[in-house]
Each structure stands twice: as C-alpha cells, then as structure tokens.
C-alpha cells in the first residue's frame, strides 16, 4: 500500500436524491475514499466476486480505486480484523467488512482485546481509527447462524463505538462519521434494510455519533428502537393514532455513545417507555436503555418500561417461525397499549 497522505477538506452537502440504504453506504465509502487516501476497504468478496459484496455495498469501488484499496480477504475473520487493527495503528483508515455479524465471533480477539484497548494501554500514543462493518438481523430466512443481532456484544466493551443506522440518509451520514472517528467503530447494518429507499443528501453529509433522531413526534408513549424496529414502530404508530394514542419514536442511531438526553427528554414528556430490538431480549441493549432511563428519570415513569425484543431462541429458518421469533408491528402496538392503559 502506498504511503497515506492527508485528506482533502470536505465538500459541502448539496441537494438530495432517493437512494437505497446499500447505495447510500456505497456513496459514503466512495466519497470518503476519494477525499481521504488513507481510507481503504477490505473483506470477503468486497472486490471481485459478485460485484461488491453479497449486498453490493462495495459495488464499483475496485474499478475506481483498484485492488490495493479494495482488498478481497481470505475466509479468516480473525486475520482480517487483526490486519485492520495493524493498518489503523500504522496510520491508515481501514473499513473492514464482515459478511455476517454472526461471523464476528471469530474476530473478537483483535476487536475486543486489541482495537478497543490499544489507545488506552499506550496512553494515547497509538490510535485505532478502524471501522468494522457487518450486517445483522433476521427476516430473510437465513437461519440461526446468519440472522442474529449482536450489537450488545460490542456495546459491552469499553473502547468501541457502536452504530446502527436505520435509514439511507443515516447510513451515509453515520458511516462518514465512523470513518473519520479516531477510535474503533463497529458499524452494524441490517440486511433487510439494504433495499429500502429514502432521501439522501448529496455531498459531504455527516451525522455525528451520539445524537439520536426523533422519527415521530407524539405525547403518549416513547418508543426507542433501532434498525427495522424504527420502521415497524412507525407502522404501529399509524394504527395507534387511530385509537388516539400518539407515539413518539426515538432512533438512537448510535448505541455507544448513547443519546440518553434525547430519550429522557421524551420520557419526561410521555411518562412511558417501550424499547425494541431484534436482538434477543435477555441482556439486550433494551435492558441497558431501560436501566439508564430508570436511573436518570425514575420519577418521570408512569408505567413500568416494556421491552419488545427477539425471543430468547435461535432464529428459526421456517418463515412462520422466524416471524414469530421476531418482534413485529403488532407486538409494538400491543406493548404501547399496555403501557398507556
């Protein structure tokens, strides 16, 4: 790899187009690679096979930036993650892709023990500005080993930032922030969202890490959810509005750092909290969010907070069973009705 040089100043954001979530990620990678020569992409099949990863997020990048900056790796997640850590310490800004978040178990040592610890243990003399990208979640019949939502694993580790975009605009804006961050970021996309479309600002559109987005305004209950749960909650909110219940939906966008103020502000207004994620309920991020809200705003709660989460079972392959194991729109609506009762 050639010696990295310094990045150009970001261009201003101009205009908005409709893109898919996958296209928005692709645009973020492409624009940042153009701007900053230190940025490179690596992972299984990101360059040659299938035209840019199994979901097309790195499509066309090898043609524009060449095989040195868009590197296919062997099927060895630990080696891949360790390589990214080393490159980041040496001054590059790697974006390492894992085909499924489920496979990141193989890469936990470099991510958890190296990437997350190095800056602290070297007293700030070394930094690890690496992004570990993967897609998680269920809904495509990919079965138990390819459908998990594992964000809680990474949220547990001090030194890692964890990002979970739910819209195309956030996918782009948050990925730019993640690449520019001087610390390791685990960037978790959702496989069902890749084909979803939405407005995406052109140019240098950055969404800061640690700032939640209010996806819907309401005054009767607060729903905090990530990924597909944001969209399911929006659908539930339509049904609930017909019953006179106005749901407020907060998408934290990043789980570490977490925008507790935004959630607390909403709960102070509504008095009721429901938290949702596809990840298993037990020890999921929902438990952490509820604990933080209870600590910060106990006297604002008018009902016990409720979790709407994946069941504590391996995600089934069978489509009906898979749907039953996942939190659905109606589950969210039922939980909201419960807390406003």
């Amino acid at each position: 790899m050639s010696q990295p040089t310094m990045p150009a100043a970001p261009a201003a954001a101009v205009g908005t187009r409709t893109l898919t979530y996958a296209e928005a990620l692709n645009e973020a990678l492409r624009e940042e690679m153009r701007r900053d020569p230190r940025v490179f992409v690596m992972g299984e099949d990101v360059a040659v096979w299938g035209g840019g990863g199994i979901f097309g997020v790195t499509k066309g990048l090898v043609e524009e930036f060449g095989p040195q900056r868009v590197r296919d790796t062997p099927i060895s997640e630990e080696a891949s993650a360790a390589l990214a850590v080393g490159a980041a310490v040496a001054g590059a800004r790697p974006v390492a892709e894992f085909m499924y978040a489920d496979f990141m178990g193989l890469a936990m040592e470099p991510i958890v023990n190296q990437a997350a610890k190095i800056r602290y243990m070297f007293g700030g003399k070394a930094r690890v500005p690496a992004v570990f990208r993967a897609q998680e979640g269920a809904g495509r019949g990919n079965a138990a080993q390819h459908s998990q939502s594992l964000e809680a694993w990474f949220c547990h580790i001090p030194g890692l930032k964890v990002v979970t975009p739910s819209t195309p605009a956030d996918a782009k804006g948050l990925l730019l922030s993640a690449i520019r961050d001087d610390n390791p970021v685990v960037f978790l996309e959702h496989k069902v969202l890749y084909a979803t479309k939405g407005p995406v600002p052109a140019g240098d559109y950055v969404v800061p890490l640690g700032v939640a987005r209010r996806a819907r305004e309401g005054q009767h209950a607060t729903f905090v959810g990530i990924h597909t749960m944001v969209h399911k909650a929006l659908a539930a909110a339509e049904a609930l509005a017909g019953e006179g219940i106005e749901l407020e939906i907060i998408d934290p966008r990043t789980l570490v750092p977490f925008d507790l103020d935004a959630v607390v502000t909403s709960v102070r207004k509504t008095g009721r909290l429901v938290v949702g994620h596809e990840a298993y309920e037990r020890c999921g991020i929902g438990a952490e969010i509820i604990a933080q809200v209870a600590g910060a705003a106990f006297d604002a709660l008018d009902a016990p907070p409720v979790r709407v989460c994946g069941r504590n079972v391996p995600v089934p392959y069978n489509a009906r069973l898979e749907a039953a194991a996942l939190p659905q729109t109606e589950d969210i609506a039922a939980a909201i009705r419960q807390v406003v009762a």
Binding site: G271, F298, D299, A300, L301, D302, A303, Q338, A341
Partner: protein, 424 residues
C-alpha cells in the same frame, strides 16, 4: 436461633394491622399452630397461629400497636437465643407526611430481616414513580387515591384528577388527614379483651372514609328509585317462611328474598354485573352479592357467593351466618371480597328511599327501603297494600340509564310475582 413472627397479610387489600391481644404472654411456651395473637385488619379480627414452637421470647409490638404487614412483631425461640439485635419496629408514617428519614428506612430494613423485606414491599401502595412525584409536589395524599392503571396502580391521571378535584374545592390538602390519628400506636395498659380499641375503630373509620370518597370521586354514580308492591312477596314469606323455619330451621327475611331476586335479575341483565377496568367495561361471569351489615364500629359487607345458584333457604342460612360472624368481627377478609353487586337495607330505620354509595369496584348497588302499608290505586279504587321503594345506584361509565332502569324494572316485576323466585 429465634423465629421471627411477622404480621401476616390476611387479605388482598391489607396494608397494616392492629395487634388487639397477645394470647401468649412473653415468657410462655407456645406450640406451632396454636393461636398466638389477635389482629384487626382493615376488614376483620382474626386469630393468628404461632409459626413455630418455643417460648415467646419477646413481644415487639404491644397490644394496640398498628404496624405494616410483614413487620416483625414477636420472637419465638428457646431461652438463651439472642434477641437484642431486633429493634422495635417504627409505626407507619402518617400519610401525606415527609418521606421516612434515612435512619428510619435503615431501621425498617433491619427490622424486616432477610426474607420479609420483599413481603413488606407488597404492602406498599401501588403507584407509579411519576404519579408519586406529582402527588408530592402537589401535596396530594396518595392514600386517598384510587388507581386506574394496570392492576389498580395509581398513575399520573389519577393524581391529576385529584388535583383538579381539589381545585374544584372537593378535597382538603394532604396536611389535613383524617386517618392520621389511627396511625400512631397508643399504649394500652390493660388488655381490652373483646372490646375493640377506640383507635382501631378510628382506623376502620379511616378506611371507610377513604373508600367512600374514592367511590364518589372516581365513578359516575347516580340513583334510580322505583316503588314495588310487596303484597305477593309478603304473602309468599308468610306462607313459606314458617314451613322453612320448621323444616330447615332457617328464618327467611325480606333481605334474603330481595338478594335472591337481585341475583335472578342480574343473571338476566349481565350488563349490571360488571366493573370498570382500566379503559373499558368488564362483565363478570359470576354473581356474588354483598350484604351490608351495620356494626357499631362501622359498615362491613360480607358476600354471598354464587347467589344466583342458591335456593332461598341457602341464601337465608348464608346471610345469617355471615352477619352473625360480622357482628363478632369474626369474618375472614376473603369473605368480604369478590362481590359483584351489593344490597343494603335501611328499611328498619323507616327510610323510604336513599342514594347508596357504590361499593367499589362493582357497578351497581341496591338500597332497600321500608315496607309499609299505604293506599294504592287498584283500578279506580284505593286499596291498602304493602309497598317498598328500591333505590338502585349505578356507575354510568359502565351502564347507561335505560339498561339500569330495565334491571330495576325486572327486579320490581320479580318481587311483585315472587313465585319466580322459586324457579332454579
């Protein structure tokens, strides 16, 4: 190791109890299962058995003392067991007062020991943190509130309703608390034996006060009255009563017949046998009729279970048993719970009609007036008949006026054609 005796929870709504009498004094030996003390709950007086065998090492709550459920009240063990590390429990704080001090909370936790801590929390008022915070800032006594949230939890809207009601001049601020006097235990020098301590009566009065106020403040209740010609019911009782007395040794009263008539009518008018729960009407599958019994200390309402399935002699026997035990304060709390409708009779005091206050959580209540002979129109002539006025209070949230009136009309019809009471 000494066994701690804690104040048991004897009824669903019980939060505290008053020790009326220790049946085993300090230093005496008691066997597990033997009666140890008498306690007065919000609804009844009961004997409680010793949880373990041994010597009553120490009595922690004197006769007359009122303490929350799960508070340690005595120690049973063998002479020589250490008893010094159990502090005397603090009385419950007066309602509306400041939260317990840290020292008091620590003492309370220590007094509760290891296991009873969780049980102590069951006696707490179910209220959301948000509602509690608002109540404190608004100086609303949360003990006067009725929860309309899930499982009867007091939530924000209940507090806001009380704030609005106070603004309308309906409620005193929390600083003026009618039940505060009962909260402080008073030393009793000599055991009062069968007598109910005056402060315990005050305690019961406080509970009645709270429930009556809750009923009037949280429901949309109103009363319908109708006059019933009781000629046929009087005849039925005069003819069947002596037979039943001779054969079954039961004395049938008009209240018994009216309870039976109400049960039959309720079976046909299920909308009345219902309650308001959370955000909607909940119809109740079973018919259990409460019968108000006036005592010197106040009102109690024992319940006749499945009154619609009971025959007249069965109802008579049940009401007689319940009211006799009520007068001795010997009802179990569960015998006063689960009512779906209540009958109350003031006829013996020459009352014609009145406006009964709903016995929550039920949706309707029947007031029975006096029977008296008076002229009524029979065609174009005046005849002397025995008549009676029935007063039906109902919750307009649960049932509208027309169906409530139809129920009352059906009840009137049954009592005017009382052989219908004999149908199964």
């Amino acid at each position: 190791m000494a066994t701690e005796v804690v104040l048991p929870r004897l009824g669903l709504t019980q939060e505290e109890g008053t020790i009326l009498r220790w049946l085993k004094p300090e230093g005496s030996r008691v066997g597990k299962g033997e009666p140890l003390f008498e306690v007065m709950t919000d609804k009844a007086t009961l004997e409680v058995e010793a949880p373990a065998s041994g010597v009553v090492l120490k009595i922690l709550v004197a006769e007359g003392g009122t303490v929350p459920v799960a508070t340690p009240i005595a120690l049973i063990g063998e002479p020589g067991d250490a008893v010094t590390d159990v502090p005397v429990p603090a009385p419950p704080p007066p309602s509306g007062g400041p939260p317990p001090t840290e020292a008091a909370r620590v003492a309370g936790a220590a007094a509760a020991g290891d296991a009873p801590r969780g049980r102590a929390s069951e006696g707490r008022i179910r209220i959301s943190p948000r509602a509690r915070a608002i109540a404190e800032s608004q100086r609303i006594d949360v003990r006067t509130l009725v929860g309309t949230g899930p499982d009867g939890r007091i939530i924000e809207r209940d507090v806001q309703q009380a704030v609005a009601a106070r603004a309308a001049g309906a409620v005193q601020p929390a600083g003026v608390d009618s039940t505060a006097a009962s909260a402080a235990p008073q030393p009793v020098s000599t055991p009062p034996a069968r007598q109910i301590p005056s402060h315990a009566a005050a305690h019961m009065r406080g509970i009645i006060a709270r429930r009556m106020l809750e009923s009037l403040r949280t429901t949309a209740q109103l009363t319908l009255t109708t006059e019933v010609d009781m000629e046929e019911t009087v005849r039925l009782r005069n003819e069947v009563g002596p037979e039943l007395e001779r054969r079954e040794r039961v004395h049938v009263t008009y209240t018994d017949l009216i309870v039976r008539a109400a049960a039959v009518a309720l079976r046909e008018h299920q909308a009345i046998n219902a309650r308001w729960e959370g955000e909607g009407v909940h119809r109740l599958p079973e018919i259990h009729i409460g019968v108000a019994v006036a005592l010197e200390e106040g009102l109690v309402v024992p319940v006749v279970r499945h009154a619609d399935r009971a025959s007249i002699p069965q109802i008579s026997a049940a009401i007689r048993d319940l009211s006799e035990r009520a007068r001795g304060m010997r009802l179990r709390p569960d015998e006063m719970a689960g009512h779906t409708f209540t009958v109350t009779n003031l006829g013996m005091f020459d009352v014609d009609a009145f406006t009964p206050v709903l016995n929550l959580p039920e949706a309707a209540m029947l007031g029975v007036g006096r029977l008296h002979r008076r002229p009524v129109a029979a065609g174009d002539r005046a005849e002397i008949h025995t008549t009676m006025v029935l007063s039906l209070t109902f919750d307009h949230r649960v049932v509208d006026g027309a169906p409530a009136a139809q129920f009352l009309q059906r009840l009137k019809h049954i009592l005017e054609h009382p052989y219908l009471l004999l149908l199964p």
